[in-house]
Subunit: 412 residues, 2 copies
């Protein structure tokens, strides 16, 4: 099956936003064994949307559009798709009610231009894709073996709609079964990972391995395309064992879970309470962990002790320790964790102090120098890390990930 | 002048890399007053490269290609461009010597296929773009008022070549200048914003207005294309005044700054100390603010008082208040702020308590109910907000933005 991804939005042509939708959809479609032949982007220009769509449909079986489903005058992707596919759009009462209740629920005023979002294809021309993350429904047009899938532009809405409604639909169209798993790793960088896995990657046919790099962490996707799901799954699992033999416990997930989710799940499932004291990450660790549903059962307290005064008052760090070793030192980190333990009694207490930059670095204590100290049921481990000083936020993010990983290893 | 950006590379269609080249080139071309009508991407497929290039040249004056200039057999962008432009390629001795010395310098072996990189257009068909960051030279084909610029794929090589050689060349061709500013707004949603600005948007010629929506906030881009930068700038500023007359103080930036940066700048410039106590946002406010450079001068302390016990112990919230009104109540928020003020003495003290969900909601206190209480030099303001219950993280993010906006308004 041949496909094209068609993005609509003047802001993309202005270079105001990076087209991450296309990256996401390309990965998903390829994993499903659907070839992606073209990426195209045009602005909110009805004529060009229509022309490009018509041309793409002469070359591919499936076109997935993103953007241009909003309520504003220049949101016309759906309308142009209907024209090209010779389909008609009608107000869908169910969708309209959903939009209305959405506005009612949130006490916002629904303006007339929102009604146009409920203008959708009927059964004879396609079907509707409900939007559970926003107001604009998506839709699918089907005609003479050609398919146009219209998705909203906001990534959060687009990805949810694609996962929930489009993937199941596309699976009914392809008779090859693809099974794919994402092994998530914290520790080695991408090139290091590739070198480690070289023996498995070179000459790979099925399953295939592909490495991906994200800020501070890496992933290995294992994909198998077989006749049945059982075969594909078995092939992927067999390869996963080979990968594990090489990467060991740097692997924190075999199913594309985020590190924060893996750590939160362990804490919640085992009812292990946690508190944290953050300096350079400044709440990023707490904020990330608390992003996980159900964490309230175990997350006791977070302290952003950014100033020295706060470290002393909140955690009982000794003035002399700060004077003698400095705020960024293992001694200070130790006292922060000890103080936090004393104050909260949480089973896991973790603290961090470091230099996020861009200023504040010295030859002895450069930007990126970080001390993390974690205590689990009285067993304390402290680490000095020299984070690559890419940028303030890169350092903070990497430090947060390192804290998560230390908690993961501490509780086992 | 109309242009298109044409990326060549199978890895892009696989979603293995994010196409940042296109974002960069889009920004640069727009700034130079060159309209970008299309972004296109195909794989390393000679037929498609040739076909797409020929088609684009029927619609635009300038096509900038990236990728496919390497030494391997499937690097054929330059060759296809030559065919489409009816140009011939010849080995350029100067470029060949440069490539040879590059390999000599880096102690790498030069294989024969690297010679193909020196196969370039002659004066009669265009000119060569030297590559000072890699081996593959770029080139420009010019014919009958149509221009094809071939750049390498690696961003570091591409951007350097574009800056050094392409920008000066393009400046000799355009005599229009674009100035554009992004007005950032917190409060009204996108459709509401469009309705408010309808009078200015409809029948817009120059300057043009376009509205954009980002999670929880909105923007209005004002763009003017004139003969000189002065004229364009003046036209944008004049329109900005009209927009201000309608949107008033919901505007927090005229130059595309983030809310967190605007707030942090005010605090830092005026030396106003700040502390926060967070429940449902769980450190997101502190973490976001501390992401801004230089904030350490004014950020005193952050408390993630997630549990009731933490609210009592850290902030002196009364047990009876929690029992009588609940943790999610204005009374609790007030006592959190009061306790924080007492503890830290920071000039700005802000606290938040709410239900981020997905669980924990009741008919009286639904998911998304949030109380924020900010105190600036003793003047306290509390607000009850019912955040759209899109998702746990949407609620937390919107609440964080609302906190930023309340600080912005409090300190004036």
């Amino acid at each position: 099956m041949k496909s094209a991804i068609f993005s609509v939005g003047t802001e993309i042509l202005f270079g105001q936003i990076t087209n991450t939708n296309t990256v996401y959809l390309s990965q998903k479609l390829n994993q499903m064994g659907i070839d992606v032949l073209y990426h195209e982007t045009v602005g909110d220009n009805p004529g060009r949307v229509k022309k490009v769509l018509a041309r793409l449909l002469m070359e591919v079986d499936l076109v997935i559009t993103t953007g241009g489903l909003g309520p504003t005058q220049d949101d016309l992707t759906k309308e142009m798709a209907a024209e090209v596919m010779g389909a008609e759009l009608k107000i869908d009462e169910k969708s309209l009610k959903k939009i209305q209740s959405y506005f009612a629920k949130t006490g916002r005023v629904m303006t007339d231009n929102n009604i146009k979002q409920a203008n959708l294809p009927t059964e004879k021309d396609g079907f509707i894709l409900p939007n559970d993350a926003g107001t604009a429904p998506g839709c699918v047009f089907v005609k003479d073996g050609k398919i146009v899938v219209c998705l909203p532009g906001p990534p959060r809405e687009m990805t949810k709609m694609f996962e929930d409604s489009v993937v199941p639909y596309l699976h009914t169209l392809t008779n090859e079964v693809i099974y794919s798993d994402m092994v998530r790793v914290f520790g080695p960088g991408e090139s290091q990972l590739e070198t480690m896995l070289e023996g498995l990657i070179t000459g790979q046919t099925d399953p295939t391995l592909a490495t991906y790099a994200k800020e501070g962490e890496c992933s290995v996707r294992i994909t198998s395309k077989r006749g049945t799901m059982e075969e594909a799954k078995a092939a992927v699992e067999e390869m996963a064992e080979k990968v594990t033999a090489i990467l060991g416990d740097t692997i924190f997930s075999y199913h594309d879970e985020d590190l924060k989710d893996v750590v939160a799940k362990k804490l919640i499932d085992r009812g292990i309470t946690i508190s944290c004291a953050e300096s350079c990450t400044g709440g990023l660790f707490a904020g990330t962990l608390i992003g996980v549903e159900g964490i309230s059962a175990v997350f006791e307290r977070g302290l952003v002790t950014y100033s020295n005064r706060a470290k002393v008052e909140e955690l009982g760090v000794k003035e002399e320790t700060l004077e003698r070793f400095g705020a960024v030192s293992e001694e200070t980190a130790r006292e922060m964790t000890a103080g936090l333990k004393k104050k909260t009694g949480s089973r896991v207490c973790i603290s961090v102090t470091g230099i996020a930059g861009p200023d504040g670095g010295t030859p002895e204590k450069p930007v990126g120098l970080v001390y993390i100290c974690v205590d689990f049921d009285g067993k304390t481990e402290c680490r000095e890390i020299r984070v690559r000083p890419v940028s303030r936020n890169w350092i903070r993010n990497y430090t947060m990930l390192m804290m998560m990983d230390m908690v993961r290893r501490a509780i086992g």
